[in-house]
C-alpha cells in the first residue's frame, strides 16, 4: 500500500512539465545463470517539449529503456511514468489503447508495411484508433505534405529512397498527435546528409510544447539536435548533459 502511494505521488509530474519519469527501473533478460541485466536502476526525467537523446555503446540498454518508456516492454522493478501514467499498473488492453493514442514510433529499419502506399502507411495509427480509412488516408496526405512527400502519396515503400521512407515513418509517428515519440537509431540507415535532414524534420515538425521526443542513437553527428543527452553504459545512466561538448569532458 505504501509503495502504491509512493508510485502515485511519483507519477504526479505533469504539473512539473515532465513527460517521462523513470525511477529505479531494472530489467533483466534470461534467468539464473543466463541472466543478463539490461537496466540496472535507471533514473531519468524527460521534459515536455524536449528532445532527449539516449547515447552509449551497443548493448548498454538504450533500446530496452525506450521499449519500457514506450510501454512495449515491462520493467522488472522500479517505476516509469509517461505523462503521469504508470504503464506497469495498466491492464494489457489499457496499455495497448494508451500506446495507440499517445505514442509514436520511428524505427531504424523504418518498418513500413511494404504492401501499403506511403499514405496508407501514414494513416495506420489513425486506422488503429478507429478512424475511417478514407478519412485517415486524406489526413495522411496532409501529413506527408508537411514532410515534403506530397508527390509520393501512392508510392510503395520499395519505390522510395531510404530518406523518403524515414520521412514517411516520421509522418506516421506524428499523424495521431502523440505526446511521446520514441525513435530508435533514426539516422543510422541513412547517409550523413539525409540523416541531418531527417533530424531537422524531427526537430521542426515533431517537437512541440506538449510533446517529448526520446531518440536512441550512437550517431555522434546528430547529437547537436538534442536538448539534453543521457549517456548510458552497462544498464545505467552515466550522466545527463545539455550539449554534445559536455559529453567529451
Amino acid at each position: 500500500m505504501a509503495n502504491e502511494i509512493r508510485e502515485t505521488e511519483f507519477c504526479a509530474g505533469e504539473a512539473e512539465k515532465l513527460a517521462v519519469q523513470c525511477h529505479g527501473v531494472t530489467k533483466a533478460y534470461g534467468t539464473e545463470e543466463a541472466k543478463i541485466m539490461a537496466l540496472r536502476g535507471i533514473d531519468l526525467e524527460v521534459r515536455m517539449g524536449e528532445l532527449m537523446m539516449l547515447v552509449g555503446p551497443s548493448g548498454c540498454g538504450k533500446t530496452t529503456l525506450i521499449s519500457v518508456i514506450a510501454g512495449i516492454l515491462d520493467q522488472d522493478d522500479g517505476v516509469c511514468c509517461v505523462y503521469d501514467h504508470d504503464m506497469l499498473r495498466m491492464s494489457s488492453s489499457e496499455k495497448i489503447g494508451y500506446r495507440a493514442r499517445n505514442v509514436g514510433f520511428v524505427f531504424q529499419a523504418f518498418n513500413l508495411l511494404p504492401a501499403l502506399t506511403a499514405a496508407e502507411n501514414v494513416a495506420m495509427p489513425l486506422i488503429i484508433n478507429d478512424m475511417k480509412r478514407t478519412e485517415a488516408v486524406a489526413r495522411a496526405g496532409d501529413m506527408l505534405a508537411r514532410v515534403g512527400l506530397d508527390s509520393r502519396l501512392d508510392a510503395l515503400p520499395a519505390e522510395l529512397s531510404g530518406g523518403q521512407q524515414q520521412r514517411v515513418a516520421i509522418a506516421r509517428s506524428l499523424i495521431h498527435g502523440p505526446r511521446l515519440v520514441v525513435c530508435d537509431e533514426p539516422t543510422s540507415a541513412l547517409d550523413h546528409e539525409t540523416g541531418q535532414k531527417v533530424m531537422e524534420l524531427l526537430r521542426n515538425v515533431a517537437l512541440a510544447e506538449d510533446r517529448a521526443l526520446v531518440i536512441v542513437t550512437h550517431d555522434a553527428r546528430i547529437f547537436s539536435f538534442a536538448d539534453r543527452i543521457a549517456r548510458m553504459d552497462d544498464g545505467r545512466i552515466e550522466r545527463v548533459v545539455n550539449s554534445p561538448t559536455e559529453l567529451s569532458m
Binding site: I72, Y98, R99, V103, N111, L113, I127, D184, E185
Partner: protein, 386 residues
C-alpha cells in the same frame, strides 16, 4: 484493419499464390474424388434410375443388390398382382448373356426382358428406331455406348475405326439370332457392359434353360397408396422381398460399400487430399505469418490489440480459403464437364460442395490457429531489433 489485412495478404504475390494453389489442390481432390465415387455408386443403381415407372421392386428374399439375380417362378407375378393396393405388376428379366460378335469374339451383355404387352421398363431415350419395334421378330434394342464400342463391327479397312451397330444388324445371343431394331441412350452401368433390351418372352428364350427365370416383378401402386405399407403387404402375401425404388437403391449401394474396396480407395484419396492440402496451406500460411511477423509486431507496438490481429489473420485465412475452394470446386466441375461423355463416372451433388467447403474451412482454421499463436505470443519490442 481488414483492408490492411487484405493488402498484407496480397502484397506478397508468390506466397498468396502458393496458399491459394494449395487450397485449390486440396479442394479439387476433396471434390473430384468423391464426385467420381458418387458417380460410380450411382452407376450401381443406374438401371433402377432408368426404370422410372415402377414404385416397388419385388424379388427373391436372398437378393442383395441389383445385379444379384436369384430367379423366381413366373407364378410369383400373379401372386403379386393379387395384393391389395397394386395397380399393375409386370415381369422383368435381367441377366448376363454372351453375345457372339461378327469377328467371332464374345461379349458379355446385360439382357433386359420387358413385359411383352406393355414394354414397361424400356429405355426412355431412343437414338434410332422405336421402342415398339421390339415386337418385330428377333427384335432387340442396344444401348448407344455399347453399339459404338464393345458391340461395334470390325473396321472396314485395317486400322480404321470400328463401325457402330446399325438398325438391321444381326447379333447372336446364346446361339440365337437377334436383329437390332433400335439404339437407345442408357445410363452407363457399374460394369460398363452393353445393355440389350428385348421382350420378356424373347429374353427367356435367349437365356439358358432354367426352371426359374423371372428376375423381378415391377409394381405400380394405386394412387394415394402408402408405398411402405404396400411393400409390407407384398412381403406378407408372397414371402418375397419388396422394396421401394429408393430402398432398393440404398440396398445396392450398401452392398457395394460393404463388400468392395471402392469406399476405402476413394476415402484414402480424399484423406490424402485433405492432409496434403492442410499441410501445404498450413505451412505456406504459417510461413506467410512468420515473414510478416515484424509487420504484426509494428502493428502491435502501435496499439493494435491481439483480438484485432486475430481477426485480421482469420480474414486472411478465410479469403485464401474461399478463393482456393472456389477454384478447386470449379476445376472439379470443369473436369466432370469435360469427361461427361466418357466412361468416367462423375456425379456432383450439392452435398459435395458443403462437405469440401467444410473441409477447407477446417484447413483454414488449422492454418490460422498455428499462425495466431505465434502472433499472440509476439513481443512488440521485436520492432526495435534490426
Amino acid at each position: 484493419m481488414y483492408y490492411i489485412a487484405l493488402k498484407m495478404l496480397m502484397g506478397d504475390r508468390s506466397k498468396y499464390f502458393g496458399m491459394v494453389m494449395g487450397l485449390t489442390f486440396a479442394s479439387f481432390i476433396m471434390t473430384q474424388q468423391p464426385a467420381i465415387f458418387t458417380g460410380i455408386m450411382a452407376r450401381t443403381f443406374s438401371f433402377m434410375t432408368d426404370l422410372g415407372q415402377p414404385d416397388i421392386w419385388v424379388m427373391d428374399p436372398k437378393v442383395q443388390f441389383i445385379d444379384d439375380i436369384k430367379p423366381m417362378q413366373d407364378t410369383q407375378l400373379y401372386r403379386v398382382r393379387g395384393v391389395e393396393g397394386v395397380e399393375w405388376a409386370v415381369p422383368l428379366y435381367k441377366g448376363l448373356l454372351k453375345v457372339r460378335l461378327e469377328n467371332g469374339n464374345f461379349q458379355t451383355c446385360i439382357v433386359v426382358g420387358l413385359d411383352d404387352a406393355t414394354l414397361i421398363g424400356g429405355p426412355a431415350v431412343m437414338v434410332q428406331g422405336r421402342l415398339e419395334d421390339l415386337r418385330r421378330a428377333e427384335g432387340v434394342i442396344v444401348d448407344s455406348d455399347g453399339a459404338r464400342t464393345k458391340l461395334a463391327k470390325a473396321p472396314a479397312t485395317p486400322g480404321g475405326k470400328p463401325v457402330p451397330l446399325q438398325l438391321g444388324d444381326v447379333l447372336e445371343l446364346n446361339d440365337r439370332r437377334a436383329t437390332v431394331v433400335g439404339v437407345a441412350k442408357v445410363t452407363r452401368t457399374f460394369q460398363s457392359q452393353p445393355v440389350i433390351y428385348t421382350t420378356y418372352t424373347r429374353a427367356i428364350g435367349f437365356a439358358p434353360r432354367e426352371r426359374k427365370l423371372l428376375s423381378f416383378v415391377l409394381v405400380k401402386a394405386r394412387a394415394g397408396e402408402d408405398l411402405k405399407a404396400l411393400t409390407v403387404r407384398i412381403r406378407n402375401a408372397t414371402g418375397l422381398a419388396a422394396y421401394t425404388r429408393e430402398e432398393f437403391k440404398m440396398l445396392t449401394v450398401k452392398y457395394f460399400m460393404k463388400n468392395t474396396g471402392i469406399p476405402i480407395n476413394f476415402g484414402m484419396a480424399v484423406l490424402l487430399g485433405f492432409i496434403i492440402g492442410a499441410a501445404v496451406a498450413g505451412q505456406t500460411f504459417y510461413n506467410f505469418t512468420l515473414d510478416n511477423l515484424r509487420q504484426f509486431g509494428v502493428l502491435k507496438a502501435m496499439g493494435t490489440s491481439n483480438a484485432t490481429l486475430l481477426r485480421m489473420i482469420l480474414l486472411q485465412a478465410s479469403v485464401v480459403g474461399s478463393i482456393g475452394w472456389g477454384l478447386g470446386v470449379g476445376a472439379a466441375a470443369l473436369f466432370g464437364y469435360v469427361f461427361r461423355d466418357g466412361v468416367l463416372a462423375f456425379k456432383f451433388p450439392w452435398q459435395l460442395l458443403v462437405i469440401s467447403g467444410g473441409a477447407v474451412t477446417l484447413i483454414c482454421i488449422f492454418s490460422a490457429m498455428i499462425s495466431i499463436q505465434k502472433v499472440i505470443k509476439l513481443e512488440p519490442a521485436i520492432v526495435f531489433k534490426t
